[in-house]
Each structure stands twice: as structure tokens, then as C-alpha cells.
């Protein structure tokens, strides 16, 4: 499936995953959320979201490794990636951006601006 409004959410914390999904749906996006990397990769192979929002600290794989795997998928070459992290420092942000992420958002997120930040990345 390929949809300009399709956003993939990979987050192991259920409340947080639900929050992201709710906020994005409110902004008109269609969201598909996954709690671990394996399930997300399996889905990504068949689908083409416009954006993937990814937690860095996943239970089965680190986000910086997962993005490499994702970017190797030919159908995701135009997909944007946003890292969501609970420990973003100056060094970490550089690491994420160099790792292939288009942007990063620190937790706890601002519910008021979260969707706008996502749109901004999509439009960049």
C-alpha cells in the first residue's frame, strides 16, 4: 500500500504508541503502529508509508540499526524517518541525523505541536 497519508509508528510503549496514533489520526493521517522491529519490517516490505516514526530504544533492535534495514528496502527509498527518543542530547541528535533520520522528536512530546512537526518533516 502506498499512501501520502500513511504513517508507520514503531514504539514498544503502548500508551505512547496510542498517543502518537491518536494525534496523527486527528491530523488526517492514516497510521499503522507496531511494537517491535520485526513486525514493522515485515509490514514495510509490503507497504510504502510516507513517514516512519521510530522509537530508538526498541526491545529487539536499536533504532539506528532498524533504519538501515528499512532504507535497504527499495519501496521505502522516498520514505521519511523521524526518531523519537527519550534521551536526545546534542551528540545524539547528530548521531540520528547522520544515521539517516530526517528529524527527531524528544519525549515527552508536546501534543499541541506534535502533528505540526510531523507535517513539517513531510513537507521538507
Amino acid at each position: 500500500m502506498s499512501n501520502e497519508k500513511t504513517i508507520m509508528i514503531i514504539e514498544d510503549n503502548m500508551p505512547v504508541r496510542k498517543l502518537f496514533s491518536t494525534l496523527l489520526k486527528r491530523s488526517g493521517f492514516e497510521t499503522f503502529d507496531f511494537e517491535n522491529a520485526k513486525k514493522s519490517i515485515d509490514w514495510a516490505k509490503e507497504n510504502t508509508p510516507v513517514l516512519i516514526i521510530m522509537d530508538i530504544l526498541l526491545p529487539d533492535i536499536h533504532g539506528t540499526e532498524l533504519i538501515k534495514a528499512m532504507k535497504d528496502l527499495p519501496n521505502l527509498k522516498n520514505t521519511k524517518f523521524i526518531a523519537v527518543t527519550g534521551f536526545a542530547t546534542g551528540n545524539d541528535s547528530d548521531k540520528f541525523l547522520q544515521g539517516g533520520f530526517d528529524s527527531y522528536i524528544s519525549k515527552p512530546v508536546n501534543t499541541a505541536t506534535f502533528a505540526d512537526e510531523v507535517k513539517e518533516v513531510l513537507n521538507s
Partner: protein, 741 residues
């Protein structure tokens, strides 16, 4: 411990005995013997030199005298030839030799030889024949001929012919038989039929001393076998009058000669005089050399004095030869003495050399013995094992140090193998390989663990020399147990530090990981709590159901975060309590006494370190673990004073009620090392790395104290004030901050 006194006493006693060995006659007598020998030899050489010189002189003398004699002989021969030739003339003529022939044959010699004064023919004339003889003589031209001396005699021997006549005219007709000497000579010639020489004397010819050589003539074809026959048949005599001095002079001197020289070099080394003893035994000096004044020189005794007979026909003329002064040269004369002096000098010089050699040798031997004794002493008193072993590593000799190091006496060790004492027998393999593979003298070092007699392990550092030349192994073993232990301690300490670094790194990493995890977990939960509360607050929910789900999700996040925090606290509480801190309110008044007592016992008594507290310290309080604080302050005292004697520390304590802290300041007197280490401590990023530059453990102590203070929730600062000293500032919570601890 082996008894070394025996060795030393023996050595000292020997030393006493041999103290003057190099002056001992017993040792140097060979030199004296050699001296005596050489002196004897010197005198022998001197004697031989004298003999040689004497022989040389004799030879020279003989040469010189022979030279003179040979010349005289030559002269004599010529004269003999003359007289013989004239005598033969009478044999040739059947009758009497005519006057002309006589003159002819006689003139040449007289002209040739100036010493021939006259050649005379004197026939035997009886009394009866006298008249006729005279008449005959006159008829030959001698008009004034007469026989003289006048007088009647039975027989006359007057000169009938005489050449040269002019100088001998006075002898013409002279009866030679009237001269006793000539008569004696003629009789002898007549009786013995020999050439006879008359005594050398003045025969009436002015001052001329001459002699006659008389040759007998017998009647023709007469028998002359017996004396009677000769007497009866004696017919005449041919006389040759020779001027004696001229005869000898011409014989001795060469044709070309200077006045004072004979022309013969050897004549200058002798002087001589020729004399004749007449029939009465009277001595008549015929001729003497120009330098014959030495005969009369008072006080002079010639080196060689000899009278040689010179046979002039039947007459023995005496020639007295003598050597001139300095015969052979002064050097030759002095040669024996010089030889003696040199020989004596050489003797003493050699004696001196030999004596010195023997003395030197004795001194060298003495010195060698001293050195040997010194070395033996060094060997015996050395704390290192000094040993010799064979190539099978069997001890051949060992010094008493083996007792000190291993507890075995040298006697116990000698004859035993090295392997027996090694803790690890496999250590022997390397040694064995080294010995077997050594092709020439090799030097090597190795450290091994050895077992002492009481079972202890001692590290011994062996320095060995494998001598193929001497066929032994020289070994020097030093006890390095303490060094090895220290080395092992140092290695251990290094490993401990490395491990501590690793642990610290691990702890740091764990801490980072924990913080990451903590942050992640907290943020996730906070995201849930804040996010859903914001949605609820902004009423961004579609329905009641969604509202309830948001509330529920927020609650879930809250519960998660609570559970998480509780788990963390519980985990912290349940960790190892061995290093747990027992907080209590410390009364510094009380702790001061304990600290003073501990500090004094540790530092002040030995090092006289003065520690003073201010008055307020007595009533000040802080919340801390008393023991930990005391340890920290003790470490700081050591660090600030560097354990230097007579250092001083002022401790200032006061409570700061406003900040709820108790401030402690420790001011120590100036110490450059501490100042340097404080700077190192302050400027380093890693205290553990700084420990390698630590001096006197100052950095280490500062780190330990700082860590203790931090564990007490205090703050720690240290600074150097240069000449004013070094300062530590500590802040501890006062009793107002008991919540949460």
C-alpha cells in the same frame, strides 16, 4: 652461620709474620749470593784482564824486541858475509891472497858499511919469520911497515893487509896478539875454528869503541880436526873491526829516519841499551836507544824489563829492553782496573736489580697474598653467594652467604647439585641448555626460586660465567626475594589499578546505560501521562469512551512510573551494605580528641607534626560517619604534610547555620611536593592516570579523602597558597539535613 673467625685469625697471624717479608734476608739472600759470585767473577775478570793486558804487552814487547833483534841479525848476517867472503878468498887462492885481491874484496864492504872500520889480514909470524915478513910487507908498498909493539915474542900476528889503510894506518903492523882481548879471541877462534867476536871496547882508536870479528885461517890442506891440529896449523886471522855503536845504530835505525826516531814504530814503545861484558865481566854499554834515559829515571819501574842475548858470532851481547811508561797506552794500562770497576759496578747493579726483583716479587707475593686475603675476606663476608660449580651443576665451593640466604652451610652445599635447591626443577633445563651449548666463555644472568633449608622460597638472582678455559662455572647469587615481592606487589598493584579502572569504566558505562534506560523509561511514562492529560485538558477526544481510554492510559503510565521508581529505590536499598554509611551527628569536640590522639600516634610522636583546632571546633557538629570522616581527615593530614617532621596543620571548623553546612578547613605549612601534587590532582581528568606521577601517595590520599567526603554528601576542595601553605576545604551537612538520609 659458618664461623669466619678462624679464617680471619689465621690470616691476621700470617700477615703479622710476613709483614716485613720483602726485607727479610731469607727471601733476598739469593741476591747476596749472586753479588758475592759476581764480585768473585769481577776479580777473576780483572785478573784475566790483567793477564790479557800483560800478554798483550808481552806480545807487543816481544814484537818490539824482535824487531830490534831481527834488524841486528840482518846486520850481523851482512857482516858475517863480509868476513866469510874474505876468509873464503884465502881458501880459493892456492897460496897467500895477494894484497890487490885483498884490497879489492875488502874495499867494497868498507865503503858499503860505514861501521866497518877495517878489514885486516893478520898472519901468524914466528920470531924467525919476522924479518922476512917485514921485508915482504915493505916490498908491497908499506914502506914504513914495522911490527908493533916492538919486542921479542914467540909469535906475532901483525896486520899485513888492512883496508881502508888511510884510517887504519896506525894499525898497520900492529900485533893483534899483543892485545889480550884480541889474543883471547884469536886463540879461541884458532882452537875452535869458529868465528869469534872480541869484547866491545876501545882498541886504541880515539873515542871509538869497537869490536873485532875474527875468522881463523889454517894452512892450506892442513888437518883441523883436533885442537892441536888447529893450533899447529893455525896460519892467520882475518879481522873485521866494527865500530860498535855505529854497527848497532845502523842496524837498528832505518835508512831514512829522523834524529830521534829509529823509523820503526814499535821502537817507540821500548827503550833499550846494548852492552857487552868483557872477559873480566866488566859491562860496557855499546849502544842505547834515544829514550834510554828511562833507565835512570828515579822512581820509574818499567812494566817489562828483559835482557836478551844477542849472539854476535861466539859473543853474547846483552840487550836490555824495557817498556816505556804507558806502554800499550794508558787505556791498556788502566784496562784491568776499568774492567774491575765496571765488573764491580755491574755486580752491584745486578745485585740491586735482583734484590729489587726478589723484593718486588716478595712484595708482589705479599700483596697478592693480601689481595687474596682481602678477596677471601670479601668472599667470606659477602652477603651474596659466591660459588664455583662444575659443568654438571654440582657445587664445588661456596662462601658462607649460603647460610644466610638458604640456611645451608657451605659444607652442606658442596658436592650437591644445584637442581636440588630449585623450587621449580624445570628451571634447571634452561641452565643446563646454556652450559651444554656454550662453546666459549659465556656470561649470563637468571633469576630462580630456590628452597631454603626451612622450606621457604627465596628468589636468587644468579650471575654466572661459564668458563671453558677453567672448566668451571663461576656463580654469584644475590637474594632478591624482597625485590621480587615488591615487584610482584607492584605488578599486583598495577593490575589492581587496571582492574579498578576497568570497574570504574564499567561502572561509568553501567551508569550511562542505567541513566539512558532511566531517562527512556521516565520519558515514556511522562509522555503518556503528560500527553493524555493534555488531550484530556484540550478535550481532544471524540467520545466518552475515548475520554475514559485516555484517562486509563494516563493512569497506566503513572503506575508504570511509580513502579519503576519504587523498583529503583528498592534495588538501591538491597545493594551490598558492607560499605554503608552510618550517619550520626558528630560532635567535633569529641571527635577532636580521638583525631588528635590518632593523628599524634600516627604522625606527631615520630614526626612531631603539630595539629591545632580552633575553639569553635569543640562545639561544632556535622552529620557524617565518624570513622569515615576520621579516616578522611587522617589521609588529608598525611597528604598535606607529606609526613615531614615538624610540619604544622591548623584545623578550623565552624557551622554555617544559613547554608546548613559545617565548614572544615585544614591549613598546612608550606610543602612544595604537596603543592605540586595538589596541582596534579586538580588538573587531571583521571585521578587513576595521575597516580603514575604521584609522589608519596599524596594524590592517592587526596582522592581517597575526596571520595569519602563525597560519600558523606559533602564537598571537597584543595588548593595551594604557595608560601602560605596548602589548604583543604570541606563542607559537610549539618544536623539540619537529616531528611532523606
Amino acid at each position: 652461620m659458618a664461623d669466619n673467625n678462624y679464617y680471619y685469625d689465621k690470616i691476621l697471624k700470617e700477615n703479622q709474620k710476613n709483614k716485613k717479608s720483602f726485607f727479610n734476608f731469607k727471601k733476598t739472600y739469593p741476591a747476596y749470593l749472586v753479588l758475592i759470585l759476581f764480585l768473585i767473577l769481577s776479580f777473576f775478570i780483572w785478573d784475566q784482564a790483567k793477564l790479557m793486558v800483560k800478554n798483550n804487552q808481552k806480545q807487543e814487547f816481544r814484537k818490539a824486541t824482535n824487531s830490534v833483534i831481527s834488524r841486528l841479525e840482518a846486520k850481523k848476517q851482512r857482516k858475517l858475509e863480509v868476513i866469510n867472503s874474505i876468509s873464503v878468498l884465502f881458501d880459493i887462492f892456492p897460496f897467500k891472497v895477494p894484497k890487490d885481491y885483498f884490497e879489492l874484496y875488502s874495499t867494497v864492504p868498507t865503503m858499503t858499511y860505514p861501521s866497518i872500520l877495517g878489514v885486516i889480514y893478520a898472519p901468524k909470524v914466528s920470531n924467525e919469520e919476522k924479518g922476512a915478513f917485514v921485508y915482504n910487507a915493505k916490498s908491497m908498498g908499506y914502506y914504513d911497515y914495522y911490527i908493533h909493539p916492538e919486542g921479542e915474542r914467540q909469535v906475532y900476528f901483525p896486520s899485513e893487509y888492512i883496508i881502508p889503510l888511510e884510517s887504519n894506518i896506525h894499525q898497520l903492523g900492529f900485533d893483534y896478539y899483543t892485545n889480550d882481548d884480541l889474543k883471547t879471541a884469536m886463540n879461541k877462534a884458532m882452537k875452535e875454528n869458529i868465528l869469534v867476536t872480541s869484547p866491545v871496547k876501545n882498541y886504541g882508536r880515539n873515542d871509538t869503541v869497537s869490536f873485532y870479528m875474527i875468522s881463523p885461517l889454517y894452512e892450506k890442506d892442513s888437518e883441523t880436526n883436533t885442537e892441536n891440529q888447529r893450533i899447529n896449523n893455525f896460519d892467520a886471522a882475518v879481522l873485521l873491526e866494527i865500530k860498535a855503536d855505529l854497527y848497532f845504530k845502523n842496524a837498528i835505525k832505518s835508512a831514512v829516519t829522523e834524529e830521534k826516531s829509529t823509523g820503526f814504530a814499535s821502537d817507540s814503545s821500548i827503550y833499550f841499551r846494548i852492552f857487552d861484558l868483557d872477559y873480566e865481566g866488566k859491562k860496557n854499554v855499546i849502544y842505547q836507544s834515544d829514550n834510554s834515559h828511562f833507565f835512570d829515571k828515579a822512581g820509574f819501574t818499567p812494566l817489562i824489563n828483559e835482557i836478551i842475548d844477542y849472539q854476535l858470532a861466539d859473543r853474547t851481547i846483552k840487550i836490555e829492553f824495557a817498556t816505556v811508561p804507558d806502554f800499550g797506552g794508558k787505556f791498556q794500562t788502566l784496562l784491568p782496573l776499568i774492567t774491575l770497576i765496571i765488573a764491580i759496578f755491574v755486580s752491584f747493579a745486578f745485585f740491586g736489580f735482583l734484590h729489587s726483583l726478589i723484593s718486588s716479587r716478595a712484595r708482589a707475593v705479599d700483596l697478592a697474598e693480601k689481595m687474596t686475603r682481602s678477596q677471601r675476606r670479601i668472599v667470606e663476608t659477602s652477603n651474596d653467594m659466591i660459588a664455583i660449580m662444575d659443568f654438571n651443576a654440582i657445587w664445588q665451593s661456596m662462601n658462607p652467604a649460603s647460610d644466610i640466604i638458604l640456611g645451608y652451610t657451605p659444607e652442606e652445599m658442596n658436592g650437591t647439585p644445584l637442581k636440588q635447591y630449585l623450587k621449580n626443577p624445570e628451571d634447571f633445563n634452561n641452565f643446563d641448555s646454556l652450559v651444554k651449548n656454550a662453546e666459549e666463555d659465556v656470561h649470563n644472568k637468571f633469576d630462580v626460586e630456590m628452597l631454603s633449608k626451612d622450606g621457604e622460597v627465596r628468589w636468587v638472582s644468579w650471575s654466572i660465567t661459564i668458563s671453558k678455559t677453567d672448566n668451571v662455572i663461576y656463580a654469584l647469587g644475590r637474594d632478591v626475594t624482597l625485590e621480587k615481592l615488591a615487584e610482584q606487589q607492584a605488578i599486583l598493584k598495577s593490575k589492581q589499578i587496571q582492574l579498578a579502572q576497568k570497574y570504574a569504566q564499567e561502572a561509568s558505562e553501567s551508569k550511562s546505560f542505567f541513566m539512558t534506560k532511566l531517562s527512556h523509561q521516565l520519558r515514556n511514562n511522562l509522555t503518556g501521562i503528560i500527553g493524555y492529560l493534555q488531550l484530556l485538558d484540550q478535550k481532544i477526544y471524540e467520545n466518552e469512551e475515548e475520554h475514559d481510554s485516555f484517562v486509563k492510559l494516563a493512569e497506566e503510565s503513572s503506575e508504570e512510573i511509580f513502579t519503576f521508581v519504587s523498583d529503583i529505590i528498592e534495588a538501591t536499598i538491597n545493594s551490598d551494605n558492607t560499605d554503608s554509611i552510618n550517619y550520626e551527628i558528630i560532635q567535633f569536640g569529641k571527635i577532636q580528641q580521638e583525631m588528635e590522639a590518632e593523628l599524634k600516634s600516627k604522625y606527631a610522636e615520630e614526626l612531631n607534626i603539630k595539629i591545632s583546632f580552633n575553639e569553635e571546633a569543640k562545639t561544632s557538629k556535622a552529620l557524617a560517619d565518624g570513622e569515615l570522616l576520621k579516616d578522611a581527615l587522617t589521609e588529608l593530614t598525611g597528604a598535606l604534610t607529606q609526613n615531614k617532621p615538624n610540619s604544622a596543620i591548623e584545623v578550623f571548623i565552624q557551622e554555617n547555620d544559613y547554608e546548613k553546612m559545617t565548614e572544615i578547613q585544614m591549613l598546612a605549612s608550606e610543602n612544595h611536593i604537596t603543592e605540586k601534587m595538589i596541582k596534579l590532582f586538580k588538573n587531571t581528568d583521571s585521578v587513576i592516570d595521575a597516580l603514575k606521577d604521584d609522589e608519596d601517595d599524596i594524590v592517592f590520599r587526596l582522592a581517597v579523602a575526596a571520595s569519602a567526603i563525597k560519600r558523606l554528601n559533602g564537598t571537597f576542595a584543595v588548593d595551594s597558597l604557595g608560601k602560605d601553605g596548602n589548604l583543604v576545604m570541606i563542607n559537610l551537612p549539618s544536623n539540619a539535613q537529616t531528611e532523606g538520609i
